[in-house]
Amino acid sequence: MDYFIQLLVSGIAVGLVYGFIGMGFAMIYRATGVVNFAQGELMMLVTYVAFTLAGTFKLGFWPLLLATVVVSVLVGLIVEVLLIRPMLGQPVFSTVMVTIGLAVIIRSVVVLIWGADPMPLNTGLPTAPIRIGPAGVYPAQLYALGIMAAVVAGLWSFFRWSRVGIAMRATANLQTTALLMGINVKRIFALSWALSAGLAAIAGVLVGVIYDINPGMWMTGLRSFPAVILGGLDSVFGAALGGILIGVVENMSEGYIGRGMKEIAGFVLILVVLMVRPYGLFGKAEIERV
């Protein structure tokens, strides 16, 4: 039983990171219908920026998180304006390939600037694990849980009550009608990329603090795909839940089935889920007409 709880807790901790990245995927997909394959790379890039910020200004955890989110939002906007906006009107596949190209570029740029050695992201957080029952968690993992709760609540109220949030939902629902209602769809696209980059920044700082930062970090982005697919590509909160579920399933299968299962458990799970529900658990089924 202790073993089970230990696996569960560490699974949730990993899953939170997947959740943040998955929410970033969903945020962009909802608005623009594009999956940003560079999400993991974007996360890596801003984490390295965070590393430099932390080293230069000796920032604590919260100021660092805030600064990184700001930088990341800017990066997201730049990417949208320079690379994604000119692709409007092209097939979705082309835009997706642009993000793949961007991913390749970022991977090289990061190694070029910061080198290939793993480095710790030091923010002065205590690193001694806290014991909760039989399981031990790092303080950063508790922070991750708190931030996730805050982000989900914040985004929910944003989509529910704010004018911009409602405009974003309208755009996700039907672009043409949104345009007719006077919504600036271009600006909504840019905002989606900015928000998504902000989520990537949170994920990146957490990964950096809990583990370390290395040029292989982008793999976490790849591993987060099952999370967003499980929840449904267009469901932001589904992605958060999907992330936690995938984290737990990965840890459980590693613990009970065998070594190395962690790498594929998520992918096997989504294969099964997609066979039953082709749009994920919370995704909107698309009705197609000829």
């Binding site: 190209g101 390749v104 070029l112 790849l222 594929i264």
Partner: protein, 345 residues
């Protein structure tokens, strides 16, 4: 005076080509490739060999992604299945080389059938990510395949032999690969101008509309997956005999992405485009290599690998941005310009 090349019946429309220059130049190209080992250094022959093997795989991906419109990020998986199937068959059963390569293709085609099933229910990016899941799972299975696949230690493959004669990579084997590539191009061209190809393209344009027109989606989508996987599997088999050592690391997702970028650079959906794109990316890589080699062993050469990555990513992005039809589209424009000059259309 005829103002253009007009087709007047269906036979003309469906023929492989009605242009004498195209036939002549194609034959000359094949001859040039056949003579290359006599003229070029060992290094360049080896490079050409790898280019031809890659072209076979890219042709396969083109049939699926370019012609049928089903995006696959899992072709590194098919390549791995083909390579390992060939390697295992030759090591455990000792079959002759052509059969081993064929076995690679067949195993990959069967895997394609399995991966194709989700494509009946999934669309677009969901499908792309599912095929990616397949590639990840295949890599895991190979890594944990014990003595069958050699796990992380890899699998060595004996030198290729044909009718009892051992083939050196840059001499005999080169011609085997060339023959396979010519055959592959020929089959792909014929497939695309037949009923099968038209069904594929109908599915690409709009699958529900295609179904309404009487195209059996299940049959043709599965066939597209199988044919595409077969091509890639054969490429895998050829690759196994070329590298003669298989390791799971050489079949990462990056391989799928590289193949896709070759397709995009060349022009989606066109056989000639697939070949052009493959050649272009190879040329780009080699050119950058030469460039950094010429700069010497300074600061830049240590960063050469990363800069290559950046140029490579930029090539994808810029092509998509400025030439979405790829090199083949540009070629068509140029041809059009000169045949119609001084008119603009």
């Amino acid at each position: 005076m005829r103002s253009g090349n007009f087709k007047q019946d269906y036979r003309q429309l469906l023929s492989l080509t009605d242009s004498v220059p195209v036939i002549v130049w194609s034959i000359l190209l094949v001859l040039a490739f056949a003579l290359a080992p006599l003229l070029l250094s060992k290094y360049y022959v080896s490079l050409l060999l790898l280019l031809m093997i890659t072209a076979v795989g890219v042709l396969g991906l083109n049939l699926l992604t370019g012609s049928t419109g089903l995006i696959s990020l899992g072709h590194s998986g098919f390549l791995a299945v083909g390579a390992y199937a060939a390697g295992i068959v030759v090591n455990k059963l000792g079959w002759p080389m052509p059969l081993c390569i064929l076995a690679g293709g067949v195993c990959a085609a069967l895997a394609g059938l399995v991966v194709g099933v989700p494509s009946l229910r999934l669309k677009g990016l969901y499908l792309a990510i599912t095929t990616m899941a397949f590639a990840v799972i295949i890599n895991h299975l190979i890594l944990n395949g014990g003595s069958l696949t050699g796990g992380s230690e890899g699998l060595s493959v004996p030198q290729p032999t044909l009718f009892g004669v051992t083939l050196a990579a840059e001499r005999g084997y080169y011609f085997v690969v060339l023959a396979v590539l010519v055959l592959a191009v020929f089959v792909a061209l014929n497939l695309l101008r037949s009923r099968v190809g038209r069904a594929f393209m109908a599915i690409r344009e709009h699958d529900i509309a295609a179904r309404a027109m009487g195209v059996d989606l299940m049959r043709w989508k599965l066939l597209a997956f199988m044919v595409s996987a077969f091509y890639t599997g054969v490429a895998g088999g050829l690759l196994a005999y070329y590298t003669r050592y298989l390791n799971v690391d050489s079949f990462s997702l990056l391989v799928s992405i590289e193949a896709l970028s070759m397709l995009i650079v060349g022009g989606l959906g066109s056989v000639a485009g697939a070949l052009l794109g493959t050649a272009f990316i190879f040329g780009l890589n080699e050119g950058l290599g030469l460039f950094f080699g010429a700069l010497g062993s300074g600061m830049l050469s240590t960063a050469a690998f990363e800069i290559k990555g950046i140029v490579y990513g930029l090539a994808i992005v810029l092509f998509l941005r400025f030439e979405p039809d790829g090199l083949i589209g540009r070629w068509r424009d140029i041809k059009h310009y000169w045949t119609h000059w001084p008119f603009r259309f």
